[in-house]
């Protein structure tokens, strides 16, 4: 029990256990417009493909090195993600779009029904602009500016553009407004503006931490064929 409390405390330190923080709207429309523009610039709005080295810290002190390839079409809100072992074994391959999730390949134990939706949601949070056209913009209690995107499932996504000494951050809350993911983005690199390093944390006893290092990326014409097996 004490160990569980310790893990929870560490998770809280990492991701935060408070509920959804209050967002105080900006008083000046010009400030809001500027902040929205900064939020829109966090993730690419043109289609791209990218390859990341992934260091995963999993429950029970397990770690694993993987390679991820992704194809992202922000305009259509569709994306494909492939997870590979360093040795080249394709462990997971799926496409997500507004029409749903299609798993092309899932090697056990990654064929667990919960794994695919969870992984694809993480990919979307890190690489796609949040769903929703009209965010609320303002300041959080700690003074950081944020764009708040209410989600269809009742959850919330906060985008926090980089501040003076704080990196760009994405916080996701569930429908009960509990924090469920935090993504910290390093400085953008290359013409696409993708973060060179991404750290995604999931709190809780079954929590995990993924560190993604960008290996290569390029713009792409997102044909339908690329999203099929």
């Amino acid at each position: 029990m004490r160990a569980a409390a310790s893990v929870l405390a560490i998770a809280c330190l990492t991701v935060g256990c408070a509920g959804l923080p209050e967002l105080v709207p900006n008083a000046e429309p010009a400030d809001s417009a500027g902040l929205m523009a900064r939020c829109r610039g966090i993730q690419p709005h043109r289609a791209f493909r990218a390859v990341h080295a992934i260091d995963a810290a999993l429950p029970m002190d397990q770690v694993s090195s993987l390679i991820g390839a992704s194809l992202v079409d922000p305009e259509q809100r569709r994306y494909r993600a492939v997870l590979m072992s360093v040795e080249g074994l394709t462990l997971f391959d799926a496409t997500a779009s507004p029409a749903g999730l299609v798993v092309h390949r899932a090697v056990p134990p990654l064929d667990d029904p919960d794994f695919g939706p969870g992984l694809m949601a993480d990919v979307a949070l890190a690489l796609l602009p949040p769903a929703g056209e009209r965010p609320l913009v303002g300041a959080l209690p700690d003074g950081r500016s944020a764009c708040r995107y209410p989600q269809a499932d009742g959850g919330v996504v906060d985008l926090l553009p980089a501040a003076h000494d704080a990196p760009t951050r994405i916080d996701r809350y569930d429908q009960d407004h509990h924090p469920i993911r935090r993504v910290v983005l390093g400085p953008a690199t290359g013409p696409l503006g993708l973060a060179g390093r991404i750290v995604l944390s999931a709190p809780g006893l079954a929590g995990y931490r993924l560190e993604l290092t960008l290996l290569e990326a390029e713009a792409v014409t997102p044909t339908d064929e690329l999203f099929t097996p």
Partner: protein
């Protein structure tokens, strides 16, 4: 040490070391590609092998393959070090039959959970099986030896369910006995992995601790 493991490792050595390994085993060109039995015989004189490799991962969503490089070491009868140096540092070890994997992070080597993933164990076990030359006894793959200027051993899944994950594996041998040109693992029409070996050294002294967990 079982005879089968010794045979596995010896055959692997011949495949990676190339013609020198075959020569050391006393094989001749035409005989090398004639049967699986001749492959096993060619491995008899190999004690150690070191080589570099280049791995290409071809995926439909990538415009060009993802290239990884590393080095390979083998010591008879059953110790293997399969080390990736770029773009991700990783070491797969089989030391006297025990499989483990290590990842390099934050300046240190740490045990990697992927070594415990069942799929990894299956793959390594199958690699061992291929390299014993006992292809006909495999319950997983059906083998075919295709002679020619570049002889090939083509392995296809015996279980249709496995074909969902691996459609075929092609070991391409060079025209000289014992020399392996490449290993191709075809997962699907849009996903395959190609491994090429080069700069092999046969029966040279290995670095101390080559098959121990990296530090």
């Amino acid at each position: 040490m079982s005879a089968s493991r010794a045979s596995i490792a010896g055959l692997l050595a011949v495949l990676v070391a190339g013609p020198a390994a075959a020569a050391a085993a006393g094989a001749s060109g035409p005989v090398w590609a004639r049967s699986f039995e001749s492959i096993r015989q060619a491995a008899a004189g190999v004690k150690t092998v070191q080589a570099r490799f280049t791995q290409e991962k071809h995926l439909k969503i990538l415009a060009k393959p993802l290239v990884s490089t590393g080095r390979f070491a083998f010591s008879a009868p059953d110790s293997i070090r399969w080390e990736y140096e770029a773009p991700v540092r990783s070491v797969l070890l089989m030391n006297r039959g025990k499989l483990s994997r290590f990842a390099f992070r934050d300046g240190a080597w740490v045990a990697d959970a992927a070594g415990r993933v069942e799929a990894m164990r299956v793959v390594v076990a199958e690699i061992q099986g291929w390299l014993t030359g006992r292809f006909e006894q495999s319950k997983t793959f059906s083998p075919a030896l295709e002679p020619g200027a570049r002889p090939k051993v083509v392995l296809t899944p015996a279980d249709p369910a496995l074909a969902d994950f691996i459609q075929r594996i092609v070991l391409t041998l060079a025209d000289r006995p014992g020399e392996l040109e490449s290993i191709e693992i075809v997962e699907s029409p849009s996903a395959r992995t190609l491994l090429r070996f080069e700069h092999s050294r046969l029966n040279a002294a290995l670095e101390p601790g080559a098959f121990e967990p990296p530090r």
